[in-house]
């Protein structure tokens, strides 16, 4: 794996994140907006829930026939004059990109937003060969200046405040007047637009991701709001598309169903501003567009996920709704997850791609509140799959000894219902009495991990089981 991961240190990362004041300020900014906008967009379209079913079914069907759709897709790309390269690993994909760049003597490469590129660690690979990669999505550009990875799959710089962006622009854009005013987001945007416009025009190769690939026509699709992806792929002589296998959909009709849930789930827009369908290179008579069109198709562990308990994860269309609605993501942000994909989708995907030994903490970073599954446009059962990972982690003895003995103790009681009822009644009674005055505990023995950051409410009334039995009798 070329990308450095701090996923094994998730707990330390999370602790640091909770104490990081600027990060907490930035996260505070994002907690409500995404949720409100998605809810509004969904409510305005009466067919939204049925479109989610349709989107799920299209993805399921495609995954079940993925080998055949890939063959059909490849044939169509070639027929349109493009090239397709299958790559098993990030190293193979990086080598493929480098060889295309070298053949063209490329020195500057502009890049549209691509999570696959992050997975590959492509920027490092390009720099090592003396090629300058320039991220052109505003958020990606900012984090590239900072040497960071995205903290969110559709809002890569969501963890930053404008003052931090201003400091970075002043540090890097040294050719601009020192006394310029950069306090408002609009001034920052204007400056980035001007700086990047020069880069767009100077680039030798443009690299984009793909939201979807269409088997019927051999088309790749990018969805953006800024237009950076379009300038990236239209102006240079070579366009390289980075995509993973599961981006395939059968037809234009199928992709239209998915587009109707994508932007609504992501940003609450009916449609993103630019949805661009690209098929092959420049045609006879064309006065613009790339002369070469290459697709790099990355597997990186996905073919092994098919047919197993994590297959559903391959339906993901990368809208970000799961992290936008996740209380754990809201608390610690995306960087704590330690690799390319944060939030609930990352908690499921990361162990599949880099191993549960490295990313075992991530599926544990969930309250199982179920909001991620409730908003997922392709209805991925994220909590269920996090549970699968926890079971695997336990079975492989990767969980710490204290945790395992705690679980064993709990299991001892859980297997003896009478004893369990008795013990919980005593435990609740004691805690209830001890916390009667304030109604909460500021600290508790063995529970510092909880009480360091919030109070533990004191239990009130009777146990859940007692209430359940009572209400059942009352019916």
């Amino acid at each position: 794996m070329t990308v450095h991961t701090t996923s094994p240190q998730f707990k330390e990362n999370a602790h640091e994140a909770l104490r990081d004041a600027p990060l907490q300020k930035a996260l505070n900014n994002m907690r409500s907006g995404f949720i409100e906008r998605r809810a509004l967009a969904a409510a305005e379209l009466p067919e939204f829930e049925r479109l989610r079913d349709s989107a799920r079914d299209i993805k399921k069907h495609t995954l079940q026939h993925l080998d055949l759709y890939l063959e059909a897709y490849e044939k169509k790309v070639k027929a349109a004059g493009g090239y397709v390269q299958f790559c098993r690993t990030p190293a193979e994909a990086n080598a493929a990109v480098l060889s295309i760049c070298k053949a063209r003597g490329a020195r500057i490469v502009t890049k549209g937003k691509s999570m696959i590129s992050e997975e590959m660690g492509l920027n490092e690979a390009l720099i090592a060969q003396g090629i300058t990669p320039v991220e052109t999505d505003l958020g990606e550009y900012i984090i590239q200046l900072r040497g960071e990875i995205p903290s969110h799959i559709i809002a890569p710089a969501v963890h930053l405040n404008k003052e931090q962006v201003e400091a970075d622009f002043r540090r890097v854009h040294t050719h601009l007047p020192k006394d310029r005013v950069l306090t408002e987001p609009t001034q920052l945007l204007t400056e980035a637009r001007a700086v990047l416009r020069e880069r767009f025009l100077a680039a030798d190769v443009g690299i984009t991701g793909a939201n979807f690939l269409i088997a019927e026509t051999g088309t790749s699709i990018i969805v953006t709001n800024e237009g950076n992806g379009d300038l990236t792929q239209t102006l240079p002589k070579v366009h390289i598309v980075l995509a993973s296998l599961e981006k395939l959909v059968p037809t234009l009709e199928d992709v239209s169903q998915l587009l109707r849930v994508l932007a609504r789930s992501a940003t609450g827009q009916d449609m993103s501003v630019y949805t661009t369908f690209s098929t092959g290179p420049r045609r006879p008579g064309d006065v613009d567009g790339p002369e070469e069109y290459h697709v790099i198709l990355l597997d990186n562990g996905r073919s092994a996920m098919l047919g197993g308990e994590f297959e559903d994860m391959l339906r993901c269309i990368r809208c970000g709704a799961c992290m936008n609605h996740c209380p754990v993501y809201h608390a610690v942000g995306g960087h704590a997850y330690g690799w390319v994909y944060p939030g609930p989708m990352g908690a499921v995907l990361t162990p599949s791609l880099i191993g549960v030994d490295k990313a075992g903490h991530l599926p544990n970073a969930s309250t199982f509140c179920g909001r991620c599954e409730a908003v997922c446009p392709v209805r991925i059962p994220l909590p269920k799959m996090m549970r699968h990972w926890r079971e695997r982690e336990f079975a492989r003895h990767l969980t710490p000894a204290a945790f395992r003995s705690g679980l064993r103790l709990w299991a001892f009681f859980a297997k003896r219902p009478a004893l369990y009822k008795f013990a919980t009644r005593i435990g609740m009674g004691v805690l209830g009495l001890a916390g009667k005055r304030s109604g909460r505990f500021k600290s508790l023995p063995l529970a510092g991990g909880w009480t360091d950051f919030r109070d533990m409410p004191a239990p009130q009334g009777r146990t859940f089981q007692a209430r359940w039995a009572k209400e059942k009798r009352a019916r």
């Binding site: 930035a26 994002m30 379209l45 067919e47 049925r50 479109l51 349709s54 069907h61 026939h65 993925l66 080998d67 055949l68 890939l70 349109a80 299958f86 505003l138 958020g139 969501v158 987001p185 609009t186 945007l189 637009r193 990047l196 416009r197 025009l201 051999g218 088309t219 709001n225 800024e226 237009g227 379009d230 300038l231 239209t234 102006l235 296998l245 059968p250 037809t251 234009l252 199928d254 239209s256 169903q257 109707r260 827009q269 009916d270 501003v273 661009t276 369908f277 690209s278 098929t279 290179p281 045609r283 064309d286 006065v287 613009d288 567009g289 597997d299 073919s303 092994a304 098919l306 047919g307």
Partner: protein, 230 residues
């Protein structure tokens, strides 16, 4: 060592427990690609011609585009001149080779018209859309010498002409019309679906217009939709 392509396809087949030769699976795929079944189409855009154009206008405005309507193609240059004058923009436009645009009476206005792709120096561009989609206020533009793709992204102000008769209720109707031109299974080099002007919310979730693409999108609907079916 096997080639990556064959290796990946073999892995997929092993995971799915198939050989790739199964006739029912192959038939499933061939049928779906051939028939391209329509999924669920939202009722929102399924309207008669006049209401459809009205919805297109409303939705495009919600996406921060400005929209006007003129009766005939020959009214377009004057409308563009007015738009640029009202906004204090330079009286120059860049256009492609689209005959619907080149046939317009530009000389009746004070506009300076140049033709071809953009190299980034043009303040304003005019394109003719292939169609519009009412359900989301989206324009569909097709690449080629008639309407070069660079005109959609480099100029600060993008003016797009769309015929009222080409405003469809949904994306699927656009795909059907495209297939009639290019043949089933083929696509133009680029199809741009454009919904409003360029924007970004990457700095503190503050929505700002004019990120990398046009800062303004002005849509001119030409003519009336055919009076049929309500």
């Amino acid at each position: 060592m096997t080639a990556p392509r064959d290796d990946i396809l073999a892995n997929i087949r092993r995971s799915l427990g198939v050989s790739g030769a199964e006739a029912p699976r192959r038939a499933n795929v061939a049928t779906r690609l051939e028939n391209a079944p329509r999924g669920l189409i939202p009722a929102r855009g399924q309207l008669g011609p006049a209401a459809r154009v009205a919805m297109f206008k409303e939705q495009a405005k919600r996406a921060q585009a400005s929209v006007t309507q003129v009766a005939r193609p020959q009214d377009v240059p004057a409308e563009i001149a007015r738009f640029l004058r009202d906004r204090n923009l330079p009286a120059t436009v860049r256009i492609g080779a689209d005959a619907r645009l080149t046939a317009m009476p530009w000389s009746e206005t004070a506009l300076e018209v140049s033709a071809g792709r953009s190299d980034g120096g043009d303040p304003n561009a005019v394109s003719h859309a292939f169609g519009g989609v009412a359900e989301s206020g989206t324009l569909a533009l097709v690449s080629g010498p008639d309407n070069p793709t660079t005109l959609n992204f480099l100029p600060d102000n993008h003016i797009v002409i769309v015929s009222a008769v080409d405003v469809a209720g949904d994306y699927e109707t656009i795909w059907q019309r495209l297939r009639e031109q290019t043949g089933k299974g083929a696509m133009p080099r680029t199809v741009n679906l454009i919904t409003g002007p360029s924007r970004s919310a990457d700095i503190e979730q503050t929505l700002l217009l004019g990120a990398h693409g046009p800062r303004t999108l002005h849509i001119i609907i030409v003519g009336e939709p055919q009076p049929s079916g309500g």
